[in-house]
Each structure stands twice: as structure tokens, then as C-alpha cells.
Amino acid sequence: METEVKTKTTTGAHTMAQNLDGSPTMAEQKQPEVKMSASQLNLWYGDTQALYDINLDMYSKEVTALIGPSGCGKSTFLRCLNRMNDLIPQVRLQGDVTLDGEDIYDHSVDVVQLRTFIGMVFQKPNPFPKSIYENIAYAPRLHGTGTSRSELDDLVESSLKRAGLWNEVADRLDTPGTELSGGQQQRLCIARAIAVNPEVILMDEPASALDPLATATVEALIHELKDNYTIVIVTHNLQQAARVAGYTAFFHMGKVVEFNDTDTLFTNPKEQRTEDYITGRFG
């Protein structure tokens, strides 16, 4: 099993060099670094198995898209990565998920601590019903990473700037986050996740509740965030996966059918099922 994972990693590196938009850094053929990795991951909701033997690597400072038809387990898998599935009582899990080689399901792991390393953005924007400022300052204050007022002010500003929201809200940080438009709310949620200074950001269909214009803004944002964070994004929108992700995994019936760099997966899929899905024959 270990070897299988390793092989996959090298394949990824190999193809990546050919495919990433000819950007100069890629020409160096740098070995992509595995940030998170799942191996032989099985998951059950009660008696129903939802994930089968998932082996998947997510590379550092890359966007990995998880695509597949509804109910294929991609969101379930995403929630395994920051242990959000712990909140569902009937869930049973087997296998390993690692962050920088550390098993996140180890008994000694503090879930709360783990989630400060792995942020999450949800399908429907869910800002807290507090002010914009409080939405962002809340977690740093809680985790003690920002204590003084000026520190928090700086953090709020830099997080909002990184989320591309600062210019729109700078003069009304006291208004409730829930009064922003849908797209702004989602960017606020991203800013909120960034404020904790995570290494990985998980996104569960972050643009599916947004209009096309807001979607474009969020996609552009994801593209920028890639420089600093490892991003795993679940999406229904194949074009979106093609636009934002360097790597794509196709899930079907709780299994990873195919994983490759995005261009190869979309232009030259190895599996018939992948081809059927991306050409719209099912799903």
C-alpha cells in the first residue's frame, strides 16, 4: 500500500512538469511535496460504507479538486481531512490520514488544535451573526494568536485584504457579516479561515451558492491563495475544477476512480468512467 502511494506521488510530479501552464517555476521540475495524504481510508455511516480504500495525496501549495456525481463521497472525504466527521456520531473510520506525515487520527491529536492547521469553507456562506470585524477577530482571540487591539486590527485588515474583501468593507467593519452579499459573505468566510493562519484550506463547493460573477471572484481568490496554502476543493462544476485546480481526483461510488493532474485527467482520462463523467454521459 505504501508503495502504491509513493508511485502515485512520482507520477504526479512527472506529469505536473508538463502541464502547469508553462510557468517558470514549474520548469524547474520541482518535486511536489505531499502535504496531506490518505491511505486505505474506509468510512462507514452506521452500516453503510461511504468510502472504500481511498488513497490520495494532496500536494503542498497546490489546489486539489475532488469531482464526482452527488453522493460519491467527495464531501465525506473532505470532512475526514479536518475530522469534521467526528461530529457525526455513527461514523466509523479505518485507515490513515496524515498532515506532514503526522497521523491526524492518532489518539494524542487534539482535534481543536488540528483544525487550526486545517481551515474549512462551507458550501453555504456561514458568517457568524456578529460584525465583520468580530467574524475575523474571533478565532485569533480564542486561540491567543492575536491579543492586543492593534494586533487584531492588523490581522483583520490583512485577512480581508488576502480575501480580496478589504476595499469593499473597510469603512463598515462594524456591520454584521450577515448583511453582506452572498459572494462577499463567502469571501468573509475565507478571510475568517485565513485569520487562523492555517496550512490547508478545505472548501466544500464554495461557489455553488453564488452567482457567476461572485463565483469568478472567488475562483480568482482561490488561485491567489494557492501561493500560500494547500487547498482541497470539492466542486460539482467541472469547468471550475479545470480553472482552479492543479490536480483533480474523480470520485465515484465512494472510490477514487482516477487521480491525476487536472489537464491529463480532463484531456486524457485513463478510466472509461472518468471519461463518461467529464463528457457528461452520467452524473
Binding site: 456520531p89 483544525r115 481551515g119 474549512m120 462551507f122 456561514n126 451573526p129 474571533y138 478565532a139 486561540h143
Partner: protein, 389 residues
Amino acid sequence: MQRRLTGSANDPRIKARYRGERRFKAYTVTALFVAFAIIVAFFTDIISQGYSAFYRTEINVTLDYNERAERIGRFALAEDMREIVSRGAVRSIPLDIRNNPELAGTTRQEWVPTYSRVDQYFKGNEELPPEMAAQVEELKEAGVIRTTFNWAFFTSGDSKLPELAGIFSAMVGSIFVLFVTLIFAFPIGVMSAIYLEEFAPDNKLTQLIEVNINNLAAVPSIIFGLLGLAVFINTFGAPRSSAVVGGLTLGLMTLPIIIISTRAALRAVPDPIRLGAFAMGCSRWQVVRDHVLPLSLPGILTGTIIGLAQAMGETAPLIIVGMIAYIPEAPGSIFESATVLPAQIFTWASEPRKAFVEKTAAGIIVLLAVLLTLNAAAVFLRRKFERRW
């Protein structure tokens, strides 16, 4: 052009439909009207019977602190006044003289309450013997009889003399009882609800607890009275008739209401808020403290106030624990014998004397006013602090 949309006035099916609709509307309007008429009739009846208790008839008499009055207060009055003035008004004269010997031998003019039957006569509720009626009419002509606002109704406790009876001791008793109920039921109820809603695993045991809490809310209140009697008085030896026993008994009754309404308020907080907070690295307690509780607090308080309002109007369990006693003096602590507003109303309602009819109605008016105020406070809290998301 053929008109197809106006419906033929002669089409029997359309006519029947309109008729059915009109009839159904008439039923609903009638039902509403009946309900409204009953409420209006109820309020009119209570207010028309009770408003007269808020004023009383007083008479200006000469009090003569003579030697006989040092032993029996009534002798301070002129002989023809003794039947007209309230016995309670002169009862304390011997004590007054003992406490203040300078009074002995002096006289003074004072407004004192009249005997309840005279009071009722002027309120048109009761007849007097003819010669007595003539006498009081004469006094009224002479200007020595007046009507004033009955402050005593709010400042004195129960009395066997209706002209002196008031709701003060029952009010104090009610406040003590509600205080104990709140202190007991609020923290336990809210904490239980938070545990069940936010922390407890969903298994057979918690389901069993949930079903039982819902059943408890439907248990007749008198059963809680028996439980209170058995547990608080017989087992723990808490003083009978006291506010602490009554409060704890009502607390048992209010507990399921608070738990259920708190759980409803917690459940109304959308899950994405919780998930968002968990994903930020909040522990369960931090999620509850910083996100769920602030959002559900108005709902929790509203439910608590409504539970307390219900407890305030409750009589049956309090009768069982002895809070129906005759309490002329307001209790000084929660361990002293006390009565509550509805129990006071019950006591007065069982009095045969005419003068207590208006006291009963007035007691109901005060109780209703307090309950309406509590409910209005609940509505206000919900409107003011309810947040949308």
C-alpha cells in the same frame, strides 16, 4: 369574443363553490367572534365586580382616648359610630396608648375605614337595615363620609375583616415562591437542555430521557404537589407552607417547560453556525458559549418567563404543600409560612361574606395584570433581541 374566464353565473358547480366558500368563511368568523365575546364577557365581568375594591369608604370620626379605650378600642368612638366604623380601625388603640402614654385623655379627628357592610352599601352591593341606612346617608350629607383610593388593598395582608384585607402578603409570597422556582429551575433546566442538545450522544438512554421530560410537562400539576409534599416536607423536613417548599414544588413543574423551550431555542440556531465555529478550531464548550448561547438566549429567556408565568398562576400543587393558609403578615423569609396570589384568590372566593366578592375579583385583576406583564416582557425580549441570519 368569447369570454371564458368570467365563469357563468348560472353554472351550478361554480355557484356551489362560492356558497361553500362563503359558508366556511362564516364559520371561521363566528368561531373567532365567539372566542372574542367570551374574553370580553370575562374581562367585563371581572373588572365590573372588582374595580370597586380599589377604593373604599372612609368616615371622619372623633377618637377619644379615654380610660375605657385603654382596654377596648371601640370605646374611643361615640356610641352611634361603633357599628359604622371598621372594628379593625380602632383595634390598635389600647396598644397605641400603651406605647404612647401622652395620648391618654386626648381626642382627635381622623379618617378611618368604615365597616365593610357600610362600604358595600355605598358601592351598591349590599343593603343595610333601614335605620342604619338612614344614619349613614345623613352622615354622607354632612360630608363626614368620603371615598378614597384603597391603598390598604396593596399594602396590607389578608384579614378576616374584608375592609382591611389586602394582597400584600400574597404578593410577597408569590415573589418569594417565584424567586425560589427561578433559582432552582432555571440553571438546572438550561444546563440539562444544553447537555441534551449540544453534548449528549443520540442513543437509547438520551431518547428515553427526552420522552420522559416531554411526559413530565404533561403531568397534572397536583401530582407535583404530592411529590413536593413527599420529598421536600416529609423527607427533607422543609417547613410546611413556606415559600421554599412551594417554590421547589413549582420548580419541579417548571423544569420540563424550561428544558423543552431551551432545547427548542438551541435547535433554532442553524447548524452551519456550529460547523463554522468547529472548523475554526472551537471546542464544544466554546461553540456553545460564544455562538449558540448568545443566539438562543432570547428564546431561552422567553421560555423561562412563560414557564414562570404558568407557575405563578398555579394553585393546586401549592394547596397540597399547605400554601393555602391564612397569612395576614407578609413572610420575612422563604422559610416562613406564606401564601400566593392565586391561593389568596381561592381563599377569598370561598368566603361567604359579600364584601369578599369584590376582593376576589380584584385579586384576579392583579394576577392577570402581573401575568400579562410577564408575557409582554417575554414578547418584548423575543422581538428586541431575536437575531436573524
